[in-house]
Assembly symmetry: C2
Homo-oligomer: 477 residues x 2
C-alpha cells in the first residue's frame, strides 16, 4: 500500500502548466514563486512519502485573489494544491501531477470575534495558537488541538481533532460556516452564524474533511468555548493496557465530562521520560485533564479516582499549578521528538486508527503484540476517549526489508480497525497514504464520494491524487 | 411565497407510474396500497400546504425490499417520497409530481444496542419514544426530542433537534452512520461506529437534512447518552422578552451546561394555562431543565438563579419530583394543542427561524411587534439556547386577506432572521414551504447543492419538488 503513490502523469500537460504559471506571474508578480527550495517546502515534508513538488507556489492575500488564480488554473487544466502550515501527515499537500500550490498562510487575519455568540470569523491561514492568543482577553478559547500549530483552513480540510475532542468535538462540530473558492473560481459561502440550521444540504460538513479536493477554503466561522473556571491535570499509571482502556470506557460510560484523556504505552512513557526529563513509571499511563467549576472539577477528580482504583490504577500524580500542567502537556505534545530520540536517525511514520471504545483494549493489545512480533520500535499514544490511537513507527527508510515489514504491519493495523467497525483514520485524513484503505473501509460508498467530486470539480484539478486511489479511478473510467 | 407549491407536471408520466405501480403490486402484493384514504394519509396532513397524494404507498420490511422498489421506480422515472411518521411541518412528504410513497414505519426493529460504546443501530421506522422505552434498562437514552413521536429516519432527514439540542446537539451530531438506498436502487453504508473519522467525504452529514432528496435512509447508527444522575426542572418569569433573552445569553456565555432552556412568550403562556390547566404568570417565561450529578445540578441551579436575578427574573417555580417535571414538559410539548385552543377552528402555521443568540432579543421583540401590528394570533415558543424560535400563526385559512397578511408576515420574519446572519429554518427543513427563502439565504451555494443532487439522483426521482424551487431549477435549465 505504501507504494501506491506512483505519479500518473496523464494530467500533467507541460504547456498548460507553463502557460498558467506565466499568467499567474504576470498578474501577481512576486506573490508567485518558482524557486526550487520554496517549491520543495510546499510538498510533503512530514512523512516517508516521496516529495512531489508543485511547479509554482502562490501566496494570495484575499479570497478574490484565490478566485482569480483558480480561474487561471482551471482554464489551463492545472492542478491546485491548497497549503496551510504543511503539518499534515498523509502526503496531503504533495503535488503528484504537478500544479500550483496555494499557500494561505499569509491570509491570517482574524475578521471578527463575536463574544456573545461565542464564535469568530477568520481567514484560512490563521493558526490555532494565533487565534487563542488573540481571544485570550475575552475568556474564550478555541479548543481543537492537533498538536502542531496548524492553520484553521488546514485543520478543517483534514477534519482535525486531537486531545480536547473527547469533550469539545472535532472540526466537524466546531465549524459553523465557510467561504470556499470552487474549482471554476466561483466563491461560495456555506453555513451561517446560527448554532443550528436545517436549510438544505450540509455543504459545510462536505468541505470539512475533503482535503482540498472540492475547493479552497479561504475563510471560516468557528465556535469558541468559555475558558473553564477550574482546570486540573493528572497522570495515572496502570498495570497493563487493558486495565487502562477499561478505565477509559468506565469514564466515558459514566458521562464524566473529561476534557482530555490520553493513553501512552510503556514505550512511549520511556521516550517521554528520556526526552522531557520526566520520571513517570514505565507503565501504560493516562494523561488527564478536567475542566469545570471549582466544585465540579473536584467532583470529577474524585469520580475518576474511584474508577481508576477499580482498574488497579496508581495514585494520582496531580498537576494543579499552571506551570506543572504546561510541562505535562508539553511532554505529551513532544511525543514526536521523543520518538525520534528513541531511535536516532530514524524516520517517523504515523498511523491513526479509531475504533468503537469497547474494542479499544482488544485493538491496542493485539497491535502491541504485533509490534513485538514484527520487531518494530513503535510507541503508542492515543486520544482514547474517542477510541483513536497512533502507533508511531520509527523506521530506517533505507532498509527495504524493514520497510516491507512496516508496510505489512500498517496494513494489518488498518484492517484490524476496519474489521472492528472502526476507521483507518480518526483525524489525519486519507491523503495519499490510505487511499486503498478508504476503499476497504467504505466500499461502494466511495463511488458516491467520487460522484460528488466529479459534480463539483469536473476537471479533477482540486488536489488530484488525494483520497481517491488511482486504481479506483481507473476502475470507473 | 406560500403559493410556490404549484404542481409542475412535466415529471408525471401517467404510463410510467401506472406500469411501476403494477410491477410493485405484482412483486409485493398487499404491501402496496392504492387506497385513496391511505394515499391521502401519506401526503401532507400537518400544515396549510395543499394535500398532494402519491399514486401508491409501499410498506417495505427490509432494505432489500426498498432497493428493489426503488429500482422499479427508477426504471420508469417515477418519483419516490420516503415517509416516516408524517409529522414534518413543511410539506416534506407531499407528492407534487405523484409517485410512490415508501412508508418505513413498519421497519421498526432495533438491531443492536452497544452499551459500552453508547450507540445503537436501528431501522429507519423506529420512533424516538420506542427507542427510549427499549434502552431504558441500560441507563442510556436518546436525547433528540422534536416534540412529535417521529421516526429516526424522518428526524435524520429533516436534521431535527428540539428541546434538548442545546446540550446534546441535533441529529447532525448524533448520527454516526447510515444505510441508504440510492436513486438507482444501490445500497450504501456511510460512516461507522467509531466516534470520529477523517476517512473521505462526510456522506453521513450529507444525507442528514437532505429530506429524502438524495436517497432513502433505511437504517441508522445513532449515539446514546447516559441518563444523568440528577434532573431538576424549573420555570422562571421575566418582565419582558428582552430580559429573558439576556438571561439566556448569560447562561450560554457562562458555559452552564443547561439541558433545556425554552422561552414561551406571554400569549403562549396564556394558551398553556388554558389548555394544560396551569397557573403560570402571563409573562415571558423560561422552562428549564438541569442535568448532572446531584451536586452539579444544585450548583447549576444556583448559578442560574444568580443570572436570572440580574435580569429581573422571578423566583423559581421548581419541579423536582418526576411527576411534576413530566407535567411541566407535557405542557411544553402540548403547545400545538394549546395554540389551537386559543383560536378554535383555526389552522396552525409553523415558522422556524434561528439566529445567533446575540440577535435573539432583537429578533423576537421585532417579531412580536410585527405580530401585533399585523393583527395576528401568534404565540411564540423557542429553543432559545440555540437561538431558535417558532411563531405559531393561528390562521383562518378561508380568509384570503388574512392568509395574504400571514404570507407577508412570514416573509418578513424569515428575511429578518437571514439578515441577522441566521436561517429561515433551525430544525423543520425547507420542504415545499421555504424553497424561495433557501435561495435568499444561501444564494449561489444552492447551485452547489443542486450539482450534488444531480450527481447522486440524475433523474430527479428522489422526493422531487422539495428543497429546490421550481423557479431555481428553471433558471438552471
Amino acid at each position: 500500500m505504501i507504494s501506491d503513490t506512483e505519479v500518473d502523469t496523464s494530467l500533467v500537460d507541460g504547456t498548460g502548466i507553463a502557460e498558467a504559471v506565466e499568467k499567474l506571474r504576470n498578474r501577481f508578480g512576486q506573490a508567485v514563486s518558482v524557486n526550487e527550495t520554496i517549491r520543495k517546502q510546499h510538498a510533503n515534508i512530514t512523512t516517508w512519502h516521496p516529495v512531489q513538488s508543485p511547479n509554482a507556489v502562490f501566496f494570495p492575500r484575499s479570497t478574490d485573489e484565490v478566485s482569480e488564480a483558480v480561474r487561471i488554473c482551471a482554464e489551463h487544466n492545472v492542478p491546485i494544491i491548497p497549503f496551510g502550515a504543511g503539518t499534515s501527515l498523509e502526503g496531503n499537500v504533495n503535488a503528484p501531477f504537478g500544479g500550483v500550490s496555494i499557500d494561505l498562510s499569509g491570509m491570517s487575519e482574524i475578521l471578527a470575534v463575536n463574544e456573545e455568540d461565542m464564535d469568530c470569523v477568520v481567514q484560512a491561514g490563521v493558526t490555532r495558537k494565533q487565534l487563542n492568543e488573540y481571544v485570550k482577553a475575552t475568556g474564550l478559547f478555541f479548543p481543537i488541538d492537533p498538536g502542531a500549530n496548524a492553520t484553521l483552513g488546514g485543520m478543517a480540510s483534514t477534519r482535525a481533532s486531537g486531545t480536547n475532542a473527547v469533550r469539545y468535538g472535532t472540526m466537524r462540530e466546531n465549524v459553523l460556516g465557510l467561504t470556499v473558492v470552487m474549482a471554476d473560481g466561483s466563491i461560495r459561502k456555506t453555513g451561517g452564524r446560527a448554532r443550528k440550521s436545517a436549510a438544505g444540504y450540509d455543504m459545510t460538513r462536505l468541505f470539512v474533511g475533503a482535503e482540498g479536493t472540492l475547493g479552497v477554503i479561504t475563510e471560516l466561522t468557528v465556535r469558541l468555548h468559555g475558558v473553564p473556571q477550574a482546570i486540573s491535570s493528572a497522570t495515572c499509571s496502570f498495570p497493563d493496557l487493558l486495565s487502562a482502556c477499561n478505565a477509559v470506557i468506565s469514564t466515558i460510560r459514566f458521562g464524566l465530562p473529561i476534557a482530555r484523556i490520553e493513553l501512552l504505552d510503556e514505550i512511549q512513557i520511556r521516550a517521554c521520560n528520556l526526552h522531557s526529563k520526566m520520571s513517570i513509571p514505565e507503565q501504560p499511563t493516562l494523561f488527564l485533564e478536567f475542566h469545570g467549576t471549582d466544585a465540579g472539577v473536584v467532583e470529577q477528580v474524585e469520580l475518576f479516582e474511584e474508577i481508576a482504583r477499580e482498574w488497579s490504577g496508581s495514585d494520582f500524580g496531580r498537576a494543579l499549578r499552571p506551570e506543572d500542567r504546561s510541562r505535562l502537556w508539553q511532554a505529551r505534545h513532544d511525543v514526536y521528538w521523543a520518538c525520534l530520540a528513541l531511535r536516532p536517525g530514524s524516520k517517523f511514520i504515523a498511523t491513526d486508527v479509531c475504533v468503537p471504545i469497547s474494542r479499544l483494549g482488544d485493538c491496542m493489545v493485539q497491535t502491541q503484540k504485533d509490534i513485538l512480533e514484527t520487531g518494530l520500535v513503535a510507541p503508542i499514544v492515543g486520544h482514547v476517549g474517542d477510541g483513536n490511537f497512533h502507533v508511531s513507527v520509527m523506521a530506517d527508510i533505507n532498509d527495504a526489508g524493514e520497510m516491507q515489514r512496516i508496510d505489512d504491519f500498517i496494513g494489518r493495523l488498518n484492517l484490524r480497525a476496519i474489521e472492528m467497525e472502526g476507521t483507518c483514520t480518526g483525524e489525519h485524513g486519507i491523503g495519499q497514504g490510505k487511499r486503498g484503505f478508504l476503499l476497504r473501509e467504505h466500499g461502494d460508498n466511495v463511488e458516491s464520494m467520487w460522484a460528488v467530486k466529479r459534480a463539483l470539480d469536473p476537471g479533477n484539478i482540486m488536489n488530484p491524487g488525494k483520497i481517491f486511489a488511482t486504481t479506483f479511478l481507473e476502475r470507473l473510467r
